[in-house]
Each structure stands twice: as structure tokens, then as C-alpha cells.
């Protein structure tokens, strides 16, 4: 691993001030450290944000669950409050990687990284999340831009992610058997205001499947999905699954999610 300057920021202001186009924030480090070791990334400055107390923790209000950016996957998975308000979100966190990844990896790191196969981005889409940073609040639909790409500026720090509590929801994934990343993951959520179907793993970036959501709006049952045609065009094809297989799995896992709602 190439060397860098390690800083531990005491607050968000300091973290943002230290940041540049040649730096990364260090949350769980579960992506940043292996990427540096593999030579996929190198930085002049690594800015640790784990000691900033206000970035961690879970708050439930009447309509929303707000999770601090450096809250670990294991904390979300084990939170009584999250289990009660949005059980599917706690279950999603429990299904990430392995216990040691969950003991370090954070929700903010996961969405900032926007891996096309990551789980949390689908939750952000399905649960109408608002991403709060140190200088603005961003709707999830605008936040995720493309493969490993978000609308964050290099000095911008995610502070918290605010999820709307749905009437019903379920996340179902076909995990890669080695890493547990999603080959396909489908998050179905029914809100008073409408239905979202967040799909991860299928394309270069998470998306809301409007066709599935439309069919479920007319009739919220898995049989409503039977007649929806899912095109494999634009879907990922790799050693784990072809694009046709992924298209089929989106449908199968959407049905599974509706049945589990």
C-alpha cells in the first residue's frame, strides 16, 4: 500500500476542510483500504471520520428512521428501533458480507461508494431516502449517478440518511456465494404515497423499476408481476450471471419480495 497522510478529524468541518480531489474519508475502510492495497486507488490524505460522534447513531421519529453515516452495518442489523420501524432494513444490514465486514463497514461508506452490487442503495431508492450532507439534503433518486458515482463533491461529508417508514416492505437478494454482494437484489416498499422497487446488482447503477412499481400499484400481489416484461438490455453480464439470467432473477426476486411483504 502506498503511503498517505492519516488525519483523524474531530468534527465535520475539519473533515471537509482537509478533503481534496486527492483524499478519501475513512469510515469502515472496508473498500478504501483493499482498493489502496490492490493499487486501484491511491490518496495523499486519508481523513478518518469515525471519531466524529455526531455522525453515528439511529433516530426514529413518527415517519422516518435516520441513520448516522458512520453507523456500522452490525448496529443497524441489531437495532431494536430499526427492527421495529423497518424490519426489512435491519434484515438487509444483517445480510451484508460477513460479521467482521458488518462490524466495520458503514452505511455512509456504502452509499458514497455506490458499488453497483451493494445492498443499501436499493434501500435508499425504495424507502424514499434523503441523504443529508454538511451542505445540502439530496433525494436518493438524484444521489446515485452511475457506476461507483454519486453527486457528492470531494469535500462533501454525508452526515445521515433519512428513510421513510413504509406500510410494508421487503428486500430479497440473490447473493454472490463468496462475497454476499448482490448478484440481484430487489427492495419492494409500499408507502401511502406510492410504491418503489429498488433494484441493485442488475445494471451499472441502482434504479427504481417503474414497470414493476406500476404493476404493483394496480394490484399489490406477486401475480401482478407475471405479465411484466423485464428486458435484459443494459443489464450486467459477468462470470456470475448473464444479463438474461439477471433479468429473470429481477422478476423472481421481485415476486419473492412482494410475497414476503
Amino acid at each position: 500500500m502506498k503511503t498517505f497522510n492519516y488525519h483523524s478529524a474531530k468534527d465535520v468541518k475539519e473533515a471537509s476542510k482537509l478533503a481534496s480531489s486527492n483524499s478519501a474519508f475513512l469510515a469502515g475502510g472496508m473498500t478504501t483500504i483493499p482498493s489502496m492495497k490492490l493499487g486501484l486507488a491511491s490518496y495523499k490524505d486519508i481523513i478518518d471520520i469515525k471519531r466524529i460522534k455526531k455522525l453515528s447513531g439511529i433516530k426514529v421519529s413518527g415517519k422516518t428512521v435516520t441513520i448516522g453515516a458512520t453507523t456500522k452495518h452490525s448496529e443497524v442489523a441489531n437495532s431494536k428501533d430499526v427492527k421495529k420501524a423497518i424490519p426489512s432494513l435491519a434484515a438487509l444490514a444483517e445480510g451484508i458480507g460477513d460479521p467482521q465486514v458488518r462490524n466495520r463497514g458503514t452505511i455512509g461508506g456504502s452509499i458514497a461508494n455506490n458499488d453497483p452490487a451493494a445492498d443499501y442503495p436499493s434501500a435508499c431508492i425504495a424507502l424514499n431516502a434523503t441523504i443529508h450532507t454538511n451542505n445540502r439534503s439530496i433525494d436518493a433518486e438524484k444521489f446515485f449517478r452511475g457506476m461507483f458515482e454519486t453527486c457528492l463533491k470531494s469535500t462533501e461529508v454525508i452526515e445521515a440518511i433519512e428513510f421513510s417508514i413504509p406500510e410494508k416492505s421487503s428486500y430479497q437478494k440473490l447473493p454472490n456465494p463468496a462475497s454476499r454482494y448482490a448478484i440481484i437484489g430487489v427492495y419492494v416498499a409500499k408507502h401511502k404515497t406510492g410504491i418503489n422497487v429498488g433494484v441493485t446488482g442488475a445494471k451499472s447503477c441502482v434504479y427504481n423499476d417503474k414497470d414493476l412499481a406500476g404493476a404493483l400499484t394496480k394490484n399489490f400481489s406477486s401475480s401482478a408481476i407475471d405479465s411484466v416484461k423485464i428486458s435484459s438490455s443494459g443489464m450486467n453480464s459477468d462470470i456470475h450471471a448473464s444479463s438474461d439470467y439477471r433479468a429473470n432473477m429481477v422478476k423472481a426476486f421481485a415476486k419473492k419480495a412482494v410475497d414476503a411483504c
Binding site: M1, I46, G97, R104
Partner: protein, 153 residues
């Protein structure tokens, strides 16, 4: 360079380290605690699992600089007064290892499991050991060893 102070297996340690030194590097190369193994070095295999402040983590993917003030327990810290930890005894008794390369990580991960779940089922053990890869045993006797330890602890 950064100066850090932490506790490793109950002993206070103060060291000057490079900013990019990992916890596994600190343990193995600076403190000579070579029981913590490095397999993949990129957080996939679990050979390097240790406990930090009571929780199991992959030490290849933690910076030593960020652990200033932490309490670290490695495989060398499990035995007490020359007596193996029940988990180590159980791995020995149930043949939970062959070459032994994955074993320190397996044992540290399994000890963390039993802290949270006293009597895990086979499935719960397998799920928990998701991040620990063994190239020899086929896992069967590892699961048996964890069950044996659970019955003794």
C-alpha cells in the same frame, strides 16, 4: 509517523508507526505476534481476525493509527496461565484444523460468536463463519469444534 498507545493482550503498548501501517502489520512485524495470519490481505479470507474492543474485525483492513486507545486481543491472548482457551481445546479435540493457516482467524471469530450466542445451531455457526475461508477441512469439523466449545463454555 504517528505515535499510538493501545492495549494488546492486556499489555500496554506505545509505538511510533507509519500512517499506512495496518493492525496486522503492527501485530506481526512490530510486536512479533505472528499468530495472526495474513492470507488475502484484502479482507476476504478472515485469517487475520482479531478482537478490537471486544468485537471481531479483520486486522488487515484496519489502520493501526486509527486504533489509538483500543484494546486488542489476538490468538496469543486467549490462553490463560498456560491453559488453552476452550475454543482452542475444542478445535484440537474435534480435528477442526489441518494445515492450521485459517485457524487463528476461525478461533477468534468463533469466540466472538459465542459471546453473542451461547448455543448456536449448525446453521448459525456456518453463517457466522461466512468471512473465514478454510482450504483444508471442508468446515465440518470446524462447526463440530464450535459446538463442542459452546457445550463447555
Amino acid at each position: 509517523m504517528k505515535k499510538i498507545a493501545l492495549e494488546v493482550n492486556g499489555k500496554k503498548v506505545t509505538k511510533e508507526i507509519s500512517d499506512h501501517t495496518t493492525l496486522s502489520g503492527l501485530l506481526r512485524d512490530i510486536l512479533n505476534l505472528t499468530g495472526t495470519h495474513i492470507g488475502c490481505d484484502t479482507s476476504q479470507c478472515g485469517a487475520c481476525v482479531v478482537h478490537v474492543d471486544g468485537k471481531s474485525i479483520k486486522s488487515c483492513t484496519a489502520l493501526a493509527a486509527d486504533l489509538d486507545g483500543s484494546k486488542v486481543t489476538t490468538i496469543e491472548g486467549l490462553a490463560s496461565n498456560g491453559k488453552l482457551h476452550p475454543m482452542q481445546e475444542a478445535f484440537k479435540k474435534m480435528h477442526g484444523l489441518q494445515c492450521g493457516f485459517c485457524t487463528p482467524g476461525m478461533v477468534m471469530s468463533a469466540v466472538d460468536l459465542l459471546k453473542n450466542k451461547k448455543n448456536p445451531s449448525d446453521q448459525e455457526i456456518r453463517d457466522w463463519l461466512e468471512g473465514n475461508i478454510c482450504r483444508c477441512t471442508g468446515y465440518h469439523n470446524i462447526v463440530a469444534a464450535v459446538k463442542e466449545a459452546a457445550s463447555k463454555m
